[in-house]
Symmetry: C2
Subunit: 298 residues, 2 copies
């Protein structure tokens, strides 16, 4: 495996995502200017762009065009950014730091943060319906539907609601997993599913296998997040560290301890890699990205 070329690929995707988002967001000069400026503040100039990386890596499995993958990646990143803006608000996690910058409600105000999140979610659906992302319009409709399912009350927003209800509660590992499958997992799973669908059709078996990979990577991502939150300091993380423990939130680390959580991450990573192996070289970026997610330090 050529690590140098993977990090180059990653940086290329991050850069083209930044450019695509810059074009997709309304210019700050367009009225209402303050809202548009705040939307750009929330989305641009930061973030690991994990969902766009997954979209592009998954798109390689079906030979999807980079332009279509950019469109899907932007829609997912807008949903992700909206959820961060709302999660950081005083009535939710009340966080002041995100990606090394003041959160939107701190930089602007609560009302603006509320509207920024609302408008970013709408923009995701506008963007996904604004140009073809598949040769088949029926598949495009199904993709819009899939983004909505992954984001809504039975996906990401639902996971957030379960998370709220779980503060200070004693969760079992199964309950913790249920929460994360929704809160973080649904959108990560959709990133792979939507990226794949930008290209040629796959067999039912292949689709099911990649959906399993998406589910595993979604959970894996959260396990690693919990480990990093427990171990890293605020400067490395670019957001407030140790806040899960401070907020008395259950995590994989609080349930399993760091050592077992690390083992679990490695097992999940291997499960995903095994599923990707039959796809051969077309799965190269997605395999590399899976390994990277487990070993990342931020």
């Amino acid at each position: 495996m050529n690590t140098r070329s993977f990090s180059q690929w990653m940086s290329d995707i991050q850069q083209r995502t930044e450019t695509a988002l810059d074009h997709a967001l309304p210019a700050a000069a367009i009225a209402p200017a303050r809202l548009h400026e705040a939307m750009r503040y929330a989305v641009l100039g930061g973030g690991k762009r994990v969902r766009p990386l997954l979209v592009h890596a998954a798109g390689q499995l079906t030979g999807a065009s980079p332009e279509r993958l950019d469109r899907v990646a932007c829609a997912l990143e807008m949903i992700h950014a909206y959820s961060l803006v709302h999660d950081d608000m005083p009535c939710m996690d009340d966080d002041t730091l995100r990606r090394g910058k003041p959160t939107v409600h701190v930089q602007y105000d609560d009302a603006t943060a509320l509207l920024v999140g609302d408008a970013l979610q709408t923009l995701a659906f506008l963007h996904l319906s604004d140009a073809p992302v598949s040769d088949d319009p029926l598949r495009q409709i199904a993709m819009i539907r899939q983004l909505a399912l992954a984001s809504g009350s039975r996906g990401m927003a639902g996971g957030q609601a379960i998370d709220l209800a779980s503060v200070g509660a004693q969760l079992s590992l199964a309950e913790l997993e249920f929460m994360h499958i929704h809160k973080t997992g649904a959108l990560i799973r959709a990133s792979i599913g939507l990226g794949v669908q930008c290209g040629r059709s796959l067999s039912e078996e292949e689709t099911a296998s990649l959906d399993h990979v998406g589910k595993v990577i979604g959970l894996l991502f959260q396990v690693v997040d919990d480990i990093l939150d427990a171990e890293a300091d605020t400067a490395t993380l670019g957001k407030t560290a140790g806040k899960d423990a401070a907020n008395d939130k259950p995590t994989y680390v609080s349930l399993l301890g760091v050592v077992r959580a690390r083992e679990l991450a490695e097992e999940m990573c291997q499960d995903a890699l095994d599923r990707l192996a039959p796809f051969g070289d077309a799965a190269r970026r997605l395999s590399e990205l899976t390994r990277f997610i487990v070993r990342r330090q931020f």
Copy 2:
């Protein structure tokens, strides 16, 4: 004109909308139960259902099927309901009464209200992509796009941002109109546009004419709302009356006075009716509804 039959039609549409929304919303028993219960609380059992009425009235112009119109009507009503839940929150209008009931953040809590609004917006896009609303999938994608445009930063959410910025400010009539074209007008205009598109295709001229009607009814609705807010009492309105003046918000009444605002409403109504006349009997419900909107007392 048979008034009795119009009020019967209106009550039929309101009833079938209630049933359609009841089916479209996740059951309160489905996890996360508290979120789903609160979403149902926000949407069901109240509201004038103006947007669904407009959808169904407009759909008669193109012979659209009632089932498709229900689907479009539900999507619009979900967007409308989400905007009310978020607008009522403490960081926005801080209102405690809506449709004669405590607002969502009062009945539940701020975090739940935030998530309810978020998830209702998502559900609107899920619902509009979940089954055909046109024979042509490309048109369905365009309809999803139109809903997003009307709801986002250059539509409803943008109007909300302009409204926030205008509190205590001296607006001209043109600026007030610009705000309302976005805040309330965009979604009302989209109700007519989307209802029409559920049926047979119209000529470019007919489409443009109906879009003008949508724009006029959107403003008209706000002019009447301002008059009612200035004149009615809280019990009749089912929401806090006189709050615009209390919040020092510019309105048509504060700019023009009640008499001139009433005249303006009548002029706009006539403009819309003139545009609808060439459509003959197919425009009957939309004409009746336009007159009703001007004369309503709540």
